[in-house]
Amino acid sequence: MPPPRSTPRLRIQPLGDTALLAELGTRLDTALNTRAIALAAALKKRRDVRQAIAGYASVTVQFDPDLATHDSLAAAIKRLAAKHPPMAEPGRLHRIPVIYDGPDLQEVAERLKLSPEKIVEVHTRPIYRVFLVGFVPGWAYLGPLPEELEVPRRHVPRTRVPAGSVAIAGRQTGIYPLPTPGGWHLIGRTTVKLYLPDSDPPCLFRAGDRVKFFAIQP
């Protein structure tokens, strides 16, 4: 039997005594994300795994400590990560109307030395990928955000961000589905409901979907 394909960047580390974080890489990359989603799906099928959540380029695995150890599960992760992921299907495309009047738009514009109009133009240009759904119900991490709009998260997160706020941070963008604490820069808002509590799954976006924003007037 040939040796499994090597995955040199795979790092597996404990998250306490009943979970592991397997990092496939550190780049914001569609291929890495596709592999993370496939690895999480494969791990979820195991009896010794309670939950596996795909991140941008990682999988967080909570395991049953009566059935697995860190070492046994790390070995299984290495084996599964070496397999070729299934071909990625193009996800559903969502077009989202946005009113660009967020409380941080001016500050972000000054910081980036761009006009607010230019920020809107650049933000509405790409078709973003849903890298992961998480953080709070219905939140989707979208990216990659064009480099021109890259700003770090706020130093002190807001304790309450209104639902529907369209935000950016780093090379990511997203929409707050619920009023929650948050550390991203708010540049606009939408009335599209992302969190659908009476549906299963209770969210509009799924990992792998695609999103295009367009500007509307208030």
Partner: protein, 310 residues
């Protein structure tokens, strides 16, 4: 469904909780469930339920409940001085209430959260596979909210085992709630702390700030400076100790966000989470660095304690 208990006064924040909905995390829905899983599970086992049945989680103050029908209950977790018809009643012990009996709590003496189990489990709204109340989503439990006066509580079914009063879990088998050392394993991003930061994390005391709820506790203490690029968001677990830019750590609890991008410098072990769940704003706690093998021993000790009630 037979009503077993009437809510005369709800207490400060009393919610229905079970072991949560881990399967909903991939939709961004918090796993949730009881903050102190040990006390929750023990209360259930004492009345003959499965650990996964729903209980009441009472934060900071207890409710006033009146028995509509005779029922078997158990009170565990924090010490709020429980009383039946005004007379002290033992905690961590199964107790029969007769119709008309009044269960009250005289006041908090230690800890943050009391659990009340009823034989058969508490009936509540099921959402995404769990009866746990998710207040943010306004789903699960009692219409997605904390209890209010006038609510009624029904038993969900028959308990798995016969109703027996006087079942008891002795103190030496419970977590050491009085010792506020939260044992932790260095996290995946602990190298983003310099040696000084790592020393501060494990050698200094942190105070639970007023910003502490079922999602997590913001802690106040020596500032932890992390280095390195921003992280790509990844899945989180309860017990994770995040360090945002300000350098004041956040301990994630049962209703924690499912994913985030702040460095996780340590994770509180499963056996110390019940202790963390009983902390209140103003309490001092410290992190102890513990080897994985010791963490597993502590987890098994608590599991054996619960198994002794089966």
């Amino acid at each position: 469904m037979t009503v077993v208990l009437q809510v005369s006064e709800p207490g400060l924040f009393t919610t229905v909780q079970d072991l949560g909905r881990p399967g909903a995390m991939s939709a961004g829905v918090q796993s949730g469930g009881a903050m102190d899983r040990f006390a929750h599970s023990a209360a259930n086992l004492l009345v003959g339920n499965d650990p996964g049945n729903a209980t009441l989680e009472c934060t900071f103050s207890g409710p006033h409940l009146v028995a509509e029908h005779a029922c078997l209950i158990a009170i565990t977790g924090a010490d709020f001085d429980p009383r039946v018809n005004g007379a002290p009643t033992p905690a961590w012990t199964s107790v029969f209430l007769s119709a008309g009996d009044s269960l009250t709590f005289n006041g908090r003496r230690a800890g943050a959260r009391v659990y009340i189990a009823v034989a058969g489990g508490i009936e509540a709204d099921r959402w995404l596979g769990s009866l746990s109340t998710n207040v943010m989503a306004a789903r699960g439990g009692k219409q997605g909210r904390s209890l209010k006066a006038g609510d009624t509580l029904s038993a969900a079914g028959e308990p798995r085992r016969p109703a027996v009063s006087g079942r008891h879990l002795p103190q030496q088998l419970r977590p050491e709630y009085g010792d506020h050392t939260l044992q932790a394993i260095p996290g995946p991003h602990s190298k983003r702390l310099n040696p000084e930061g790592r020393r501060l994390l494990f050698e200094s005391s942190y105070r639970v700030s007023r910003d502490a709820d079922r999602m997590g506790y913001r802690l106040e203490g020596p500032q932890l400076n992390t280095t390195g690029d921003e992280l790509l968001s990844f899945g989180l677990v309860p017990g994770a100790v995040q360090v945002p830019h300000g350098g004041q750590p956040i301990l994630l609890m049962a209703d924690h966000q499912t994913a985030g991008g702040y460095p996780v410098v340590a994770t509180v072990i499963s056996a110390s989470l019940p202790v963390a769940a009983q902390l209140l704003p103003g309490d001092e706690a410290r992190f102890g660095e513990i080897p994985l093998e010791s963490a597993q021993r502590m987890r098994k000790a608590l599991e054996s304690a619960l198994a002794s009630l089966r």
